[in-house]
């Protein structure tokens, strides 16, 4: 068995008396597409923010790409990409300016930046839009662009927080093609979603309910375990018991 790239042990985040993420323990292996499911407010984003070094855990242990989540956050950041729920490229910069900016602050050389941005524009079919302001792009394209920017420095792991929210089915499909491509090249993908068809694309999934991980396995095993026909069913059976409602 390979060494896990993400390894957590009883990772917990409390906000006052509220426990947003409760004793999370799981491992993610290199090249895996790991689905992180849960109802709204179940604590997915909180967990993801801890793993990305944006939020300090209250207790528990975790290593990302072999680095400690408490002491080596800057090392972790060199090795991860992150795409938040909120679209977070600069709307007042053009497509190419955004690409160059992020490539630049990740420390890529001028030569790499040039090659990378050309590749990326080709891959996304955005050559003609390169000089357009990002604010003028349709949402689906923006999401694809944000994903590509999040992995521009070739990280080991990419964290995607509801990357396809509000996007049409065709674009969603294209988005997942991007994810598969990247995963084929060895990238580990950690993704949250509300779409159960997307859950089926994942190698393994965990389902969070009220801050705890209630189930973790491959989609087919989970269906067996809950004697359900679809992931929808599995999710429904678990999420029904949730006390938190938003």
């Amino acid at each position: 068995m390979q060494q896990p790239v993400i390894k957590t042990e009883l990772l917990t985040k409390r906000f006052g008396s509220f426990t947003a993420a409760d004793e999370l323990t799981f491992e993610v292996y290199p090249g895996e597409i790991f689905g992180f499911l849960g109802a709204n407010g179940a604590g997915k984003t909180t967990a993801m923010r801890m793993l990305c070094g944006l939020s300090l855990p209250s207790s528990g242990k975790a290593t990302i790409a072999g680095f400690d989540i408490y002491k080596q956050t800057e090392k972790i950041k060199q090795n991860i990409g992150y795409m938040s729920q909120k679209f977070s490229l600069y709307e007042d910069l053009t497509v190419i300016e955004n690409i160059r900016f992020y490539a630049g602050i990740y420390g890529l050389s001028d030569k790499e930046i040039k090659a990378k941005s050309n590749n990326l524009l080709d891959q996304l079919g955005l050559q003609n839009e390169a000089k357009k302001l990002v604010s003028e792009l349709p949402l689906g394209w923006k999401q694809k662009l944000s994903f590509s920017v999040a992995v521009i420095h070739q990280p080991k792991i990419v964290f995607l927080d509801e990357p396809t929210g509000g996007v049409d089915p065709v674009t969603r499909r294209q988005f997942w093609d991007l994810i598969y491509d990247a995963s084929d090249k060895g990238l580990t993908v950690f993704v949250t979603t509300h779409y159960m068809d997307e859950a089926e694309y994942c190698n393994r999934i965990s389902i969070m309910v009220d801050g705890r991980i209630e189930a973790l396995d491959t989609p087919s095993n989970l269906k067996k375990q809950f004697s359900a026909n679809s992931m929808d069913d599995v999710f429904y059976q678990l999420a029904r018991g949730a006390k938190r409602n938003e």
């Binding site: 923010r49 990305c52 070094g53 944006l54 939020s55 300090l56 956050t73 800057e74 090392k75 950041k77 060199q78 991860i80 990409g81 992150y82 938040s84 909120k86 679209f87 977070s88 490229l89 600069y90 709307e91 007042d92 910069l93 300016e97 160059r100 900016f101 992020y102 630049g104 602050i105 990740y106 420390g107």
Partner: protein, 372 residues
Amino acid sequence: MRTIKFLLQKEFRQIFRNKTLLRSILISPCIQLLILPLAANYEVKNISLAVVDNDHSAYSQKMISKITSSGYFKLTSYNSSFKEAYHQIEEDKADIILEIPAHFERNLVRENEQKLFVAVNAINGTKALLGGGYLANIINNYNNEIRLQWVQPSRFNTAPLIEIASSNWYNPLMNYQIFMVPGILVMLVTMIGGMMCSLNIVKEKEIGTIEQINVTPIKKHHFILGKLIPFWVIGMVVFTLGLLIARFVYHIIPIGNISLLYGFLAVYLLAVLGLGLLISTYSDTQQQAMSITFFFVMIFNLMSGLYTPVESMPNWAQWIAKFNPLSYFIQVMRMVVLKGSEFNDVKPHLIAILGFAIVFNTWAILNYRKRA
């Protein structure tokens, strides 16, 4: 270093692309500098004067015309009784009543002495104080004139006389603009620098881009320098525009060394921008940042010695002024521009500002968290 290059490139692109913002950064201070000095003129003019002349003599007429020809007063009404004139004050039509008693001329000639009555509407303190003072001065002068006509100057003056000859140094014509324009320029540079800088970072918090920055391995001080430098440059540009306006509109040519001014400004901007950064680390929305900045700007402006001398404030208020970076730069501006002060004269001020710059920026860097 390379990271900073990318940050600066991005920052300047965003600033130049936002035309509305650019206009308000560059044009609004110029307009303010053209308008505000007119409002900050302490010379009180157009004081409305209500006269009650119970004497109707040549002397009383002469005195009234002397008052009105001074240029400070305008005769708004000529009343037959004090009651009538008082009405004018009640209706806000008059600021000052001058009552000349009956037999003013006769008493003055015969008894060498006569009393006048002046009533001042003191709702507007400055106007009342200065207006009353001007009036007393004019009447005094008039009095002296009459004395000269009557009393033969003798070699043996009976009454000892102290005469004051004063001259106004550094601003011989007591031109308020020369005094106010440099101060107002400092105020504008402070407001623009501090506010733009804090709003800019909080905006990134609001739209969420700061999170994308925070997951990169970027160094805190790189990020902060990337935000400081653009607004430092803008502060310099605004100051230069202001100096040009001072030169060509108000004909103020700094007597002292201009590079000393710029050197001081360079450090001063670091302090102001540091405060802006500090505010931004404590606020989550532009609204919060704006209201905190506004709080400081109001206090800084009014307690800076720009309008009223710090020395005349109560002791505790003077202590507050000591923690006001604006007051140091306004003093330095006036010293260098009007008096031609040199490096050694402004050294204590420079040290104070350097202190502010270090404290604000260190505090901001410590308080800026990549991780919540």
